[in-house]
Symmetry: C2
Subunit: 189 residues, 2 copies
């Protein structure tokens, strides 16, 4: 199952942000909303076999939201729709284990280190191997929001394989779209 | 220069829509906002050599907005930012010739038929030739929003070449991202 994890370096961890100011006071939550969109949407369908993890680091402690394509409901393609589901997820208290916040949405405390303990990830990196040339495509990808990975994050990611999506550096959500297209081309008969 | 034209079948043609309800009362304006985003954004840069045309058909007469990457200003990646620029474009009266509404934004009356007279386009179609297999990539692409092309539109498009972006049908904005990735791979050394 493809999994995308996006680090939101300034993204708030409480549900009281305004859907009218997600790029500002919510810490570029708009980037994360678009990543939820591109992880799941097909024309008139959802990718049910996909998970999207948002690692929110703009609060006192990091929190991780998990969106699961097989059970998610009420997700529409616009940013406000994903934003409303993020608010719903953040309304549930985060504990060390994932806890259901709504259909297809779970939350826990912890961030990148904890997620790396769960799955083996590949990292998106402009200097990485082109995904088109990868003999086997990794299943799980870590991306950063509009900021670079911090030194501390880079240390956690140091030993992971690195991939790129072509000669230009793209936004995280666009990168997910290109990876999904590569998955589709390899998986759909 | 890559050009993308997106037909917004229900998209309103007056600037009085709410940025808080673009999927609803504005006639799925959110789809068009995301297409503006994917036409232009690179990580920390804009694609200056690109144009995006929005054909708005939800009013009394169709209107066309032209966004030009070389002169556009104040465009941020979130949907509300593109929505605000669409409102600005629609605040200028539409006449048969393109007229500047703001830096990088022009408006005129008329829709698909008029645009097809200006440039030769290719059409996105799930049954079309895969863009990866195209010996030469077309420069200009026509896409539809969340609805299929109408019979009248299909009649206008009947003789145009048809391309697809892979085995699955994607949203218009995701399709633009995949096409741009193919352009990048062919153009960037």
């Amino acid at each position: 199952m493809p999994r995308f994890a996006i680090v939101g370096h300034k993204a708030v961890t409480t549900p009281d942000f305004s859907l009218n100011d997600m790029p500002g006071a919510a810490g570029r939550m708009d980037v994360l909303c678009r990543c939820v969109n591109t992880s799941f949407f097909l024309s008139h369908d959802l990718r049910r076999d996909t998970e999207c993890y948002l690692i929110l680091k703009g609060g006192e402690i990091p929190k991780t939201l998990r969106f699961s394509g097989d059970t998610i409901r009420s997700l529409n393609p616009d940013e406000r729709s994903a934003g409303a589901l993020i608010k719903k997820g953040l309304s549930t208290a985060a504990e060390p284990e994932f806890k259901k916040a709504a259909d297809g949405i779970a939350i826990r405390s912890g961030g990148l280190a904890e997620l790396l303990a769960d799955f083996s990830f590949a990292v998106l990196d402009e200097n990485g191997e082109d995904i088109r040339n990868a003999e086997t495509l990794p299943e799980n990808f870590i991306l950063s929001d509009h900021m670079n990975f911090t030194e501390e994050e880079e240390a956690l990611l140091a030993d992971l394989p690195r991939y790129s999506v072509g000669p230009r550096v793209l936004h995280a959500d666009h990168t997910i779209t290109v990876i999904m297209n590569e998955f589709d081309r390899r998986q759909v008969p």
